[in-house]
Amino acid sequence: MGEVKLHGFWASPFSHRVIWALKLKGVEYEYMEEDLSNKSQLLLQYNPAHKKIPVLVHRNKPVAESLVILEYIEETWPENPLLPLDACDRAMARFWINFGEQKGPVFFNLFRTTGEAQEKTGEEVAQILKTIEEKALGDNNFFGGNTLGLVDLSFGWLPHWFEVTEQVQGTKLLDPTTLPRLHAWAQNFKQVPVIRDNLPDPQKLSAHLKRLRGNLLKN
C-alpha cells in the first residue's frame, strides 16, 4: 500500500495515538524519532504551519495533526474499523474527540500551576472528567460501545500520561472512588496488547515531565 513513515517523539501522547492506530490496522511503518529541541529539516518542510509532530508520510505525502492523521488512517486502511458506520454515531464519536481537544489547555494549566491556582483548575478538571465518565463513556467498556475505537485512542493520554502527570504535579483527580468507570476504562485500555506494548517507560516519562514542569514553574 506504499511506504509509511512516522515522525514522532517518544514522550508524546499525540505520537502514540498514531502508533496505536497503525498497529491496530496492521500497517508497517518506519519510525523517525524527532529531537524537539533540534527539529529535522524534513519535519519543518512537512509541517510548516505548526512545526510539530506527529507527521505521517505516506507515499511521500505528509499528513500532520494527530486527529487528522487518525481519520486518514481510518479511511486509507478500512479493515478493523475504528469509527462507527452510522453517521449519527460517527458525529457523536467526533464530538467527544473534539471535546477532549478543546479541554486540553485546562489540563495543561493544571500542570503548570501550584497552590490555589492549581486547586481552582483542579475543580474544573474534575468537572471535565465527570462529564467524560457520565456522558461520553456511560456504561460501556469503551467509548461508543464494546470495541476500541478512535475516541479511546484520542483519550489515550488519560491512562498512563495523566496518571504519571498527577504524581509529578501532586494531584489525585483520576481516582477510582470518584470516577470508578473512567478509572476502570483507563486500566482496561492499558491492558489492550497494542496499547500495553506501546507506552513510554514510566520512569523516563516521569523524569521528563518533572523537568518540563520545573521549567514552566520557573517562568
Binding site: P48, A49, H50, H58, K61, V63, A64, E65, L67, V68, I69, E71, Y72, E75, T76, A87, C88, R90, A91, R94, F95, N98, F99, T131, K135
Partner: protein, 232 residues
C-alpha cells in the same frame, strides 16, 4: 433521503460564521430545514437540552437527534445526504488536507484575526496583521495544493475547506474595515482574492453571509459591551 422540513431543525443565529457553515452545507445539498433563531444574550430551553455540554449554536436536530459542532455537522450532512454534491473530496489525502487546514483556520487563523480586532495601539495591530499575513500565505499555498488550479479548495465546486474558511469572509471584511487594514492582498495572495469573490457570490453562499456593514455594527456593539464590562 432528503428530510422533510419538520424533520430537520437548525438552532442558530444569522451572524454566526459557525452557523453559516451549516446553512451553506444544507444549501449545497438542497435540503429543506427549519431555522430556529436564538436570541442574542439568552439560550433557549431547546438549545440547553440539545447541547448540554457546550450550550452553543449551531445545533442540527435531525428527527430527535442533536448534532453539535459546526464542522462535525457539515461532515454529518455530507454523509447523510450522500447523493447530493460531495462536500469532502473522495480521496483520503485530499480529505486530510481539507481537515488539516480547517483545523488550522479554527485553532490558529481565527485567533489571530480576533487579536487584530482587540489590538490596542499601532504596534500590537501591526504584529497581528503580520501573523494573519503569514497565515494567508500558507492558505494561498493550500489553495493551490487542494484546488489544483481550479477556483475553489474543493476544485470546480465549493467543498469542506471552502466552507470552513469562507464562512469567516463576512467577519474578515468587517475586521478590515474596523481596523483600517487590508488582509486580502491582490499582490501577495491573488488566488485567495479571486477565491473570496467566487465563494461569496456562489448560489449556496450569497444569501447566507450577512452584509458587512451589519457585522461592523455588531462588532462595534460587542467591543463597547466588552469595554463597559471590563470597566465595572
Amino acid at each position: 433521503m432528503a428530510g422533510a422540513s419538520s424533520d430537520l431543525k437548525l438552532l442558530g443565529a444569522g451572524p454566526s460564521p459557525y452557523v453559516n457553515r451549516v446553512q451553506i452545507a444544507l444549501n449545497l445539498k438542497a435540503v429543506n430545514y427549519e431555522f430556529l433563531e436564538e436570541k442574542f444574550g439568552s439560550k433557549s430551553e431547546l438549545l440547553l437540552k440539545s447541547n448540554p455540554v457546550h450550550k452553543k449554536i449551531p445545533v442540527l436536530i435531525h428527527g430527535d437527534k442533536p448534532i453539535c459542532e459546526s464542522l462535525i455537522i457539515v461532515q454529518y450532512i455530507d454523509e447523510v445526504w450522500a447523493s447530493g454534491p460531495s462536500i469532502l473530496p473522495s480521496d483520503p489525502y485530499d480529505r486530510a488536507l481539507h481537515r488539516f487546514w480547517a483545523a488550522y483556520i479554527d485553532d490558529k487563523f481565527f485567533t489571530n484575526v480576533k487579536e487584530l480586532s482587540t489590538a490596542d495601539g499601532e504596534e500590537a495591530k501591526d504584529a497581528a496583521v503580520e501573523r494573519i499575513a503569514e497565515g494567508m500565505t500558507l492558505l494561498e499555498d493550500a489553495l493551490g495544493k487542494c484546488g489544483k488550479g481550479k477556483p475553489f479548495f474543493g476544485g470546480d465546486n465549493i467543498g469542506y475547506l471552502d466552507i470552513a474558511f469562507g464562512s469567516f469572509l463576512g467577519w474578515l471584511r468587517a475586521t478590515e474595515k474596523l481596523a483600517g487594514v487590508t488582509l486580502f492582498n491582490e499582490g501577495k495572495t491573488p488566488g485567495l482574492v479571486a477565491w473570496a469573490d467566487a465563494f461569496s457570490s456562489h448560489e449556496a453562499v450569497k444569501d447566507v453571509i450577512p452584509e458587512i456593514d451589519r457585522l461592523v455594527e455588531l462588532a462595534k456593539m460587542f467591543k463597547a459591551r466588552a469595554q463597559s464590562q471590563s470597566a465595572n
